[in-house]
Amino acid sequence: MTADLTHLQADTDGLAARFVAGTLVGDALARFEAHLLECAACQAEVEVGMTLRAAGASPQAARARWVWPVTGVAAAAALVLLLTRPVVTDSRLATLGGLDTAPIHIGIAVRSDERDARFDAAMQAYRRGDYARAMTELSALRVVADAPPVLFFLGASALMVGADSLARDAYDALLASPESAYHDEARYYRAKAHLRAGRAAPAVADLRAISDATLRRQADALVDSIGAFGIR
């Protein structure tokens, strides 16, 4: 078993840069990866390094000479470093995808076995607003019990922490299963996830498919707002 890296060692050996460049291999790579998960300084360097590499690494240029072209005008550079956030194409749509409050959980049992206990634990985290933990636990639970409530609240917690693609994935799975009490709400929240990604058309399709009367009014209002932007 190899010893843990200290940040000083990692920095002295330039491991973050070599990780980005892809010249770190084998055991040295594994050790740095474990270090990276816990080291904010190395994470910051890797972000910048990957951004650089991504800007310079074009398929056509292959590994020729790296020349930095000097461009006059640049777009919003602030986006670049937010590597793990999807780039939102239309900020107005993204705003419509926002959630002020999480869907309420009133406590419907999943199944009468030990999975109930895990679902309860996840929902306790959910109710106290710890959506990241709820999401992690529900993801794990999904592997053994992909019941509609598990998928529904997995999607909801993912939306609350901004893991939009995971939310879509959960609602896709839920909506592909036989109709349940969760389906209409799932359509509503999947529409939110689509809006966050700037995709109006699938959002409108989901909203129009809702049949529940109460939810219908909210859905219609949202469709109107999307229409008001002239995006269909």
């Binding site: 843990d4 920095d11 002295t12 050996d13 330039g14 840069a17 070599r18 990780f19 980005v20 460049a21 892809g22 010249t23 770190l24 594994a30 050790r31 990866e33 270090h35 990276l36 998960l37 816990e38 994470q43 360097e45 972000e47 910048v48 390094g49 990957m50 951004t51 650089l52 590499r53 991504a54 800007a55 310079g56 074009s58 398929p59 790296w66 930095w68 006059g72 005008v73 640049a74 777009a75 919003a76 550079a77 602030a78 986006l79 670049v80 470093l81 590597l83 793990t84 999807p86 780039v87 990241a132 933990r133 992690t136 636990e137 993801s139 794990a140 999904r142 693609s165 995971l166 994935d169």
Partner: protein, 185 residues
């Protein structure tokens, strides 16, 4: 295994996956799946030594990433065949759009040529600081300091949105709307 400790590893996992896959959503999903698998492992009684949690989770993430790469290769037999002929493309090449590339290049243009060269040696050639020091004929310590200053500067330029080339006088054309004119009531 404490779940709050796991959650702290999420950002690092995303970066690790992003390096391998060059796709933001895929990186988010890999991080999520690695954390979920770690929870399942804990449930099944896997014991992780104190201080080895990150190494354990990084190992899981490598498997998740490898699975994805295999699936991608299966789904794209043509590009797999092409990969034999052409050298492997860096997945990061897919990460940024044209606007974002332009923003990075604009930020880089504001660094000195020697700093740009240093960054190239680090992040493209992947040389160790000692090798770079030999090549540039400078002490390793100075190379390291210069690199971290350049990275810090670049980070500022990129996060503050300062990659823009400003007009010579930024207040011109912006102030009048906010300043009451003399004939205002």
């Amino acid at each position: 295994m404490d779940l709050s400790q796991l959650e702290a590893l999420r950002h690092g996992l995303e970066l690790l996956a992003l390096r391998a896959l060059g796709d933001r959503s895929a990186a988010e999903e890999v991080a999520q799946e690695a954390l979920a698998r770690a929870v399942v492992a804990a449930d099944r009684g896997t014991i992780v030594q104190v201080g080895r949690l990150a190494a354990f989770v990084a190992g899981i993430a490598r498997h998740v990433i490898a699975d994805r790469q295999r699936n991608a290769a299966r789904l794209a037999p043509l590009s797999a065949a092409a990969a034999v002929a052409a050298p492997a493309e860096d997945p990061l090449a897919r990460l940024l759009g044209a606007d974002e590339r332009a923003a990075v290049h604009a930020a880089l243009a504001r660094l000195s040529p020697t700093d740009r060269n240093l960054l190239r040696l680090c992040y493209f050639d992947g040389l160790a600081p000692s090798e770079i020091a030999t090549r540039l004929g400078e002490p390793p310590e100075r190379v390291r300091k210069r690199k971290s200053r350049a990275i810090e500067r670049l980070r500022e330029l990129l996060t503050l949105g300062d990659g823009h080339v400003r007009p010579p006088n930024p207040t011109l054309g912006m102030q009048p709307a906010l300043t009451p004119t003399e004939d205002a009531p």
